[in-house]
Amino acid sequence: MPPVIRLLAKRLGTSLIVLVGVSMLIFTIARVIPGDPARIALGPSASPEQVQALRDRLHLDESLPVQYGYFLRDLSRGDLGVSLYTNRPVTTDIAQFLPATLELIVVAGLMMILIGLPLGVIAARYRGSWADHAVRVFTLLGVSAPSFVWAVILMLIFAFYLPLFPIAGRIADSYAIPSVTGFLMVDTLLAGNLRAFANAAWHIVLPAFALALSGIGQAARLTRSNMVETYDRPFIEMAQSYGFPERRIANRYAFRPSLIPSLTIIGLDFAAMLGNAFLVEAVFAWPGLSRYGVAVILRKDLNAIVGTVLIISAMFLIVNIVVDLLIAFINPRIRYSQRAS
């Protein structure tokens, strides 16, 4: 499928340009944040010589473009520098904290798709009915409170008052699961420990749902409005005039073309989760990237800030490319067209 390959190549190229832009922006921001990173890192008792030594090591006294040059040089070797906060390579830190965050986001993303899309389909099919209104209220509520408010409310109800779910952590202490992928739900399965898997799944339900709620709302609302629009297209009237079953029309004929515009936004929502995960993780003591992210920003840990933002943005761009490919897969017009729009 050459058009798809071309699309992929073009998107990768654009993403790379954007990523360079992101790195410049965040690099600059990180460096103009007030405060001397070396002083913060070394603490109050370090001598001025020690602070200066660290500044030299970080090239802090060079001009910004020169610093950026050093950064690029290191980056080309896959080196994001050492975190001043944990004294470990930023890549190591991110590799350690990212899987937990990703696991949370993936589960939330699945919830968003598996709950949000069907709700949207139902609302569109029965538009104007009580089911439509009910879905609307539910989805609007979902998007009307930040995920941390939902996190707190869900926690209060389902962990404090009705202790149905655990209130913190990824898995009970009693399970020792060797870390292979960092994704606990995968690692437990790799270890063949089904009870541990169930336990991990049980831990992830509340945080993921809190994180997913606004995405569910967005996805459902979008699917509904796109589908309502699709319902006005001639091919739906044609399907109806041929008496295709309503359910089939909803689930296939109207849904699939509607999914195409929805997917782009769902991709963006997915990306928004990367940010919101920061808040949910804080509430559920989820050992992900968030605490690290907040801590490094507060401590002006240059390398870690740039590294974290860069990784998150790269993931965002990857998600968007995946979404584009998915759209290309669903939309034959892109798959077969000679021009990549």
Binding site: V22, L140, S313
Partner: protein, 277 residues
């Protein structure tokens, strides 16, 4: 006008939205008269009445230094609304102009402007705002700046897409044929046709700005005490769950009510203005 009323009244949810927003706006504007303890919006400590569950005269209970939560929530609405309006007042003109120019002119201008927009879009909003807040002192003004910085690209994107569609419309061709100037075509011909979508998005966004501002203050980057702020109230109160539940639940509900109301209103506006998508 009659049509608008018909659409509003036909849908009980839209009506609910109008009512909720009216309530929120009224409480924000008339907080001085409605709040039972207006002075509690500031630095007041009353250790005789601290951490009290809801009871008369403290409708929503009191916080840890004895201030009436209900009064503070009313004043917090005021801040949230001002913040939302100011952020949009700055972000929308910037985003809209860039979107219009990129969409209409095309070519290199479009490529450069849209890639810059992509850069801002591909940093998750919260992360971007956090970095910005790290850069600036955590004051209300800077909070607004940070939120603005993350907000404009969304308008650019919206208006850019609209413009590209509008550009194909016959009236743009007609204006070009007549010889109208580019600024005229962009701002007088195309822009008015984007206004309904922009206004609708603004209504929805007023809610979201409140959300984002709350999220920022949840992370400790927003409005500073003693100024009441819904997000920080939720964040600070969360430490005292489940015992002092009112500290979190009422500010949380307050956010919910306002944003829910703006969403309903935005939906209604979308119907009335006939905006698609």
């Amino acid at each position: 006008m009659r049509r608008s009323l018909f659409i509003l009244l036909r849908n009980p949810l839209s009506l609910t939205g109008v009512i909720l927003i009216t309530l929120v706006v009224v409480s924000a504007v008339f907080a001085d008269f409605i709040a039972p303890f207006p002075e509690h919006a500031g630095a007041v400590v009353d250790f005789a009445n601290f951490n009290k569950a809801p009871e008369w005269p403290y409708l929503f209970g009191t916080d840890l230094v004895g201030r009436d939560l209900f009064s503070r929530i009313l004043y917090a609405y005021r801040i949230s609304l001002v913040l939302g309006i100011v952020v949009l007042a700055i972000a929308v003109p910037i985003g809209v102009t860039i979107g219009l120019v990129a969409g209409y002119l095309g070519g290199w201008t479009e490529y450069v402007l849209m890639r810059i927009t992509d850069v801002f879009l591909s940093i998750p909003p919260l992360v971007l705002a956090m970095s910005m807040m790290g850069l600036l002192e955590p004051t209300l003004t800077n909070g607004m700046l940070a939120v603005t910085a993350m907000w404009w690209p969304w308008y650019t994107r919206l208006v850019y897409n609209l413009t590209r569609a509008e550009k194909e419309e016959g009236y743009v061709l007609a204006a070009e044929v007549i010889g109208a100037s580019k600024p005229h075509i962009i701002f007088r011909e195309i822009l008015p046709n984007c206004v309904p979508s922009i206004v609708t998005k603004m209504t929805l966004d007023l809610g979201f700005v409140i959300l984002i501002a709350s999220s920022l203050s949840f992370l400790g980057l927003g409005v500073q005490p003693p100024t009441p702020d819904l997000g920080s109230m939720v964040a600070d109160g969360a430490k005292y769950l489940p015992d002092s539940w009112w500290l979190t639940v009422f500010p949380g509900l307050a956010i919910l009510v306002a944003v829910f109301g703006f969403n309903l209103l935005g939906d209604a506006l979308r119907d009335i203005l006939g905006v698609d998508q």
